[in-house]
Symmetry: C2
C-alpha cells in the first residue's frame, strides 16, 4: 500500500470503526469479533451491473450496506457490523472515497452498526469498474436463524412493504418509461435506497417458517424458498402490495396481469418474503404493528414444486424466463 | 442471478462448503459462524495489480487464501473458514471458475478450512479485471490475538523463513532479471504461492509482543509495528535470512547493501515479522523447532520512531521511497 492509501484508511475509514473496540481503529491486520453465534452474509456490487456508474457514491455505499442488512433482516438477525473491501478505479480521487465513506457513516448511524475492518485496493486501469464487497455480521435470534428451508404445505405466504417500485425506478433512471416528476423521484429513491426490514425481521423470528429477502424478484425468490423447502408456492397477483405510485402506473397498462408479472419479476425490492403457519396470523399482525412495517398475505404453500402466479381472476399467468425485460419499450 | 450462476454455485462452490454445517450447502442467504471470539481479516485481489492476468486461476485462488491465512498466522489465530466474493469478467467460462475452485479445494484441504458462503457476480465488460475478496475467520488464541501494538524498547526483532524470494520471482516473471531455469522456478513459486506460517504463528502467541505478516515489505511492515507500538526498530541487513537462490543472486550484485535493501522492500514474502522480549529467546527457539519453521533474529526495538536499516558494516542505509523499483533494469 502507498502512503496515500494509508492516509485514506487513517483519515477516512478509521473514524467509521470508532465504536468497534475489536477493530483497533483499523491499525491492525485483523479484528476481534466477539459474542456467540454470528449470522454472516456477504454481497458484492460492481459498477455498471449493480449500480450505475453515474450513481452518487454515498448512495452506492448506503445501498451496499442495505442489501446486506436486508439479508440479515430476512434471517431474523440483529446487525452488528461489517468488513469492507473495495477496488477503486485508478482515477478515483480522495473526494470520491470520502463521499463513499459519508454514505457509510450515515447508514452506520441509522442502523447502529460499525466498520470492523477490511481492505482498500486500486484497479490497474483508470476507468476499471468500482467493485465493493461487504461481509456482514449479525447476532443470531434466540429462536435460531430463519432459514430458506422450512416452509410446509398449508403455510401462508407474506411479503413486507411494496413490490415493483425499484424496478420502475430503474426504468425511470434508464429513461425507458416516463413518470411525473414526483413519481420519478419516488421510484428512483426506492431503487437507490432500499429499506432493509431489520425490525420486522427480528419480530418474525420464531413465527416465520422460512424467509428470504426479495432481490432477484418476488417470483424468483419465492422459487428459492420452494426449492429449498421442497414445496410449491402460489402467489395471487392481485394481493401483491403496490405503492400508490405503482398503482397509478399499473392503471395505464393495457394488460394488467402481464404488468403485475413485470413488477413481480423485477427484483431489487429488498422486502422480506416469508411463510408462516395460519396459526401464526395474529403473531404476524403483531410483528407488523410493532415494527411499523406493512405486511401483506399474498399466497399459500402447497405440495409439489415451483411457483404458480395467479392472475387477478384466478387464472395462471405463464412467466417466461426473461420475457418481461423489454415488453414496455415499444 | 441467472440460472447459470445458480448452477455454478450448486455444482462448483457448494462442495467446498460441505464440511461447514453452518453454511447450509450454500442454499441460504447467510451462514452461521459459531464459537467464541473470532479473529477476522480480509484481503481483496485484483487482476493486473495483485496477480498477473495470465496467472493460472487455481494459483490465484490459492494465493487469495494464503495471503489471508498469513494475516491470521501473524495474529496467532487458528483458521476455520472464509466468505468469498468474486466479480468475474463477463467472458469468464465455467471452466475458468472450476479451475479457480480447484485451487480453493486444494488449499482448503491443506489448511483444514471450509467455505462458509459468499457472492458470485459478473462484471459488465468481457475483459474487466477479475476481482476476488475473502473474509477469513480464525479462533483467537487463548493468550489473546497478537497485535501490531505491543513492541517495547529492548525487544528483539525476528522474521520467519526467507525474505526477497517473491520479489525476485516477480522480476523473473516480468522478465526484468534472468535466472537459471531452476532458480527462476523457485522464485516464481514463492511469488505465486506464499506459505502462510500458520503453525509458527500459533506457537508464538503468548511470546511475541507484536507481529505482522510481511506483505508490503520487511522494512515497511517493521514500520507498521514501530508506528503502532510507538517505538523505533533497527534491522541488521546482514542478518536478514535469504534462500540459497537469493544468495546466489546477491553475490552477483555490485552494491550488496543496496541489493539487500531491494529485497527488504520488495514485499509479498508472507513471512511473520515479530518482536519478543530477550527473555523469550528459548521459547522462540522452541516455537521454531515445533513448527519446523526457521526463525532469524534480525534486529532490535528501541525508543523513538521509524525504522533504521543497518548495512553489513553497521552503516545506516538510506531507503529512498520507491528508489529500488528500477535499479536493476539498466
Amino acid at each position: 500500500m502507498s502512503e496515500g492509501e494509508f492516509a485514506i484508511i487513517r483519515e477516512i475509514f478509521a473514524p467509521l470503526a470508532a465504536n468497534a473496540s475489536g477493530a483497533f481503529a483499523l491499525t491492525d491486520d485483523a479484528a476481534i469479533v466477539s459474542g456467540g453465534d454470528h449470522v454472516v452474509t456477504a454481497d458484492m456490487m460492481v459498477a455498471g451491473v449493480h449500480f450505475r456508474k453515474s450513481d452518487p457514491l454515498d448512495l452506492v455505499a448506503r445501498k451496499l450496506l442495505r442489501v446486506n442488512l436486508s439479508d440479515l433482516a430476512a434471517k431474523g438477525a440483529k446487525p452488528s457490523g461489517y468488513i469492507l473491501t473495495c477496488a477503486w478505479p485508478r482515477s478515483a480521487k480522495r473526494a470520491d472515497i470520502a463521499l463513499f465513506a459519508e454514505g457509510l457513516a450515515a447508514d452506520q448511524e441509522t442502523y447502529r452498526i460499525a466498520l470492523f475492518g477490511g481492505d482498500t485496493t486500486r484497479h490497474a486501469a483508470a476507468d476499471a469498474p468500482l467493485t465493493v464487497s461487504a461481509t456482514f455480521f449479525g447476532a443470531a435470534p434466540r429462536q435460531g436463524m430463519v432459514r430458506r428451508a422450512g416452509a410446509t404445505a398449508g403455510d401462508d405466504v407474506y411479503v413486507s412493504g411494496t413490490i415493483g417500485d425499484a424496478r420502475l425506478g430503474l426504468e425511470a433512471l434508464e429513461k425507458r418509461v416516463k413518470f411525473s416528476p414526483a413519481d420519478r423521484t419516488y421510484f428512483a429513491g426506492r431503487y437507490h435506497l432500499p429499506e432493509p426490514r431489520v425490525t420486522l425481521g427480528g419480530a418474525l423470528s420464531g413465527f416465520a417458517s422460512a424467509a428470504i429477502d426479495v432481490s432477484d424478484g418476488l417470483v424468483a425468490d419465492a422459487g428459492h424458498i420452494a426449492e429449498t423447502s421442497g414445496c410449491a408456492i402460489s402467489i395471487n397477483a392481485a394481493a401483491i402490495p403496490l405503492s400508490e405510485q405503482a398503482k397509478r402506473w399499473l392503471e395505464k397498462q393495457e394488460d394488467r396481469a402481464i404488468a403485475l408479472a413485470f413488477l413481480a419479476t423485477g427484483g431489487d425490492d429488498y422486502e422480506i418474503l416469508f411463510t408462516a403457519s395460519p396459526r401464526a396470523r395474529r403473531a404476524i399482525e403483531m410483528a407488523s404493528t410493532v415494527s411499523k412495517t406493512p405486511v401483506a398475505r399474498i399466497g399459500s404453500v402447497g405440495k409439489g414444486s415451483g411457483v404458480t402466479f395467479l392472475g387477478p381472476d384466478g387464472e395462471t399467468i405463464e412467466l417466461a424466463a426473461g420475457g418481461f425485460d423489454h415488453f414496455m419499450q415499444g
